[in-house]
Symmetry: C2
Subunit: 333 residues, 2 copies
Amino acid sequence: MKCRKCGHEAVINMRQHKLALCSEHFLEWVPEQTQRFIEKYRMFTPDERILVAVSGGKDSLSLWDVLLRLGYKADGLYIGLGIDGGVDYSNQSHEMCVKFLENFRSQISSVNVTADDGPQTVNTQYLIPKLHVVDIAKLYGETIPDVAARTTRGRGKPCSVCGLVKRHVMNRVARDGGYDVLATGHNLDDEVAVLFGNALTWNAGYLLRQAPMLPADKPGLARKVKPFCRLYERESAAYALVRGIDYIYDECPFAEGSTSIAHKEILNQMEKDSPGTKLQFYLSFLRAREQGLFAEQAAHVELNACEKCGQPTSAPGLCAFCRLWERRITKDE
Amino acid sequence: MKCRKCGHEAVINMRQHKLALCSEHFLEWVPEQTQRFIEKYRMFTPDERILVAVSGGKDSLSLWDVLLRLGYKADGLYIGLGIDGGVDYSNQSHEMCVKFLENFRSQISSVNVTADDGPQTVNTQYLIPKLHVVDIAKLYGETIPDVAARTTRGRGKPCSVCGLVKRHVMNRVARDGGYDVLATGHNLDDEVAVLFGNALTWNAGYLLRQAPMLPADKPGLARKVKPFCRLYERESAAYALVRGIDYIYDECPFAEGSTSIAHKEILNQMEKDSPGTKLQFYLSFLRAREQGLFAEQAAHVELNACEKCGQPTSAPGLCAFCRLWERRITKDE
């Protein structure tokens, strides 16, 4: 298989795009595509400050890398969840993020920045990114598995609590740090698995809020973007590999047996039988919504500020996050 | 496995309902359920005249049987498509319908009719059903495979043409015969496969028109109902088997390799992993629509009467059905 651009040996063949590329042109293609999605879905502008949620995995580190190479002002946020799972999962993940940043900083002088009007010199002070680290156990006194163990959320699995805590912390750090936007590394496979699950249950609230860009339409909520939402998981993995980004290979130990992994397997089968199925599923969903398939009021929820943390919540009084820790205090007393 | 109602040996175990039944109680359960769906989705009343589209398969013959046993005035409509496929498919199908009717008529005196207020005597003149037969080749000069072969519809497969022709003929016979409603034997597996396909492409028109009951909201359109829409395929097959209804076992020879069969396989896998998946998928869809998930105007289409047959069409001039035969005439001239 030859690269379509230069004829050299290809490192990846993207059947759904009928496009094979060599390593050099693939490393160009991913940022080009990302820039296209950033503009198409009006995610952010070069003036805005971006907080990238990094987990130490291929998607979020590749995203951070791409955003920095595109010249965006992107800092990282790592949330230490205190998950061990026999593989020292959280510590390993943290280390990957730190290592990425060190490598990136050491390379910074040689980075070619591509902007709208071609390669150019960029004020490098913006390009030296910061990594925020929030350690849940240190800050709130318990790890995620510990909190999950004493709540009824998530039927014995910490995933629901974990999602709740991460959303809260990401939003808080974005708000307190004065960031314009919060970026996550969700790839197409992630988005499609979630969409598939939401279509199976026809959950109006979830269906209407699944988007490449969610505006900050409530006071205290950060704008949320997913610049890799149209990139297949294997493309994001290939980017990390070819770019030489070291990342944590293990899935979260709690992910095993999850519904979204079961859905991913089904979708992988469908994609194999008919390349492009996932992309078409996602794009036709975005198009249908754009064209008014859904009644916007179907997902309307009244939000008010949490009495304790001030973040928006649909519950009266405390938000779900604050109630999570409130219960602990009550129990300890 | 024992019958939940009487403790005798069960003939079927419906995992999604956690319900096992013996043959006697299963033969009671299917009509009870069907009656429940007829009322719930306001399909028709005992006064109305029903035209049941029968194909000779398990679903439509079981449906006809159940409707007659419930005391409804239900005539059959068989459409001869002229499909051979090496198994004399259409002729065999026709024969099954004729045989069903003969058997039913011979049993008619011993049929126990269940009505709202328990078993009762019913004026049996209503219970002697008629079978309308429309032979496409005799009436229009060509079989379905022949028509399909000279059109661009359906990419080499007659399924699209077949659907178009059947919809037209069913609607015409219902209208001309003064029927209040047209009933088809679509089971839950059929409905779910279609819904799955429509969700994968997010087709607003199709999503909004998929329902257990479609009202006759345009002049010249018959009300359409699917009384078996919540019955699994294996339940409808079991009903035919236990009731002793002979039906054509072969799938239509052209169905092989179809998208809906591929979707059915995926859904079967999901159902196996988690019994009830299909039913939940369908019911949550109906519930979400009821609760206003979709913007009703998303599927709004202006219809006008076809200049030739008078049936509603979105096209100006002739409807797609009349254009199908128009082209033949032009070609022959």
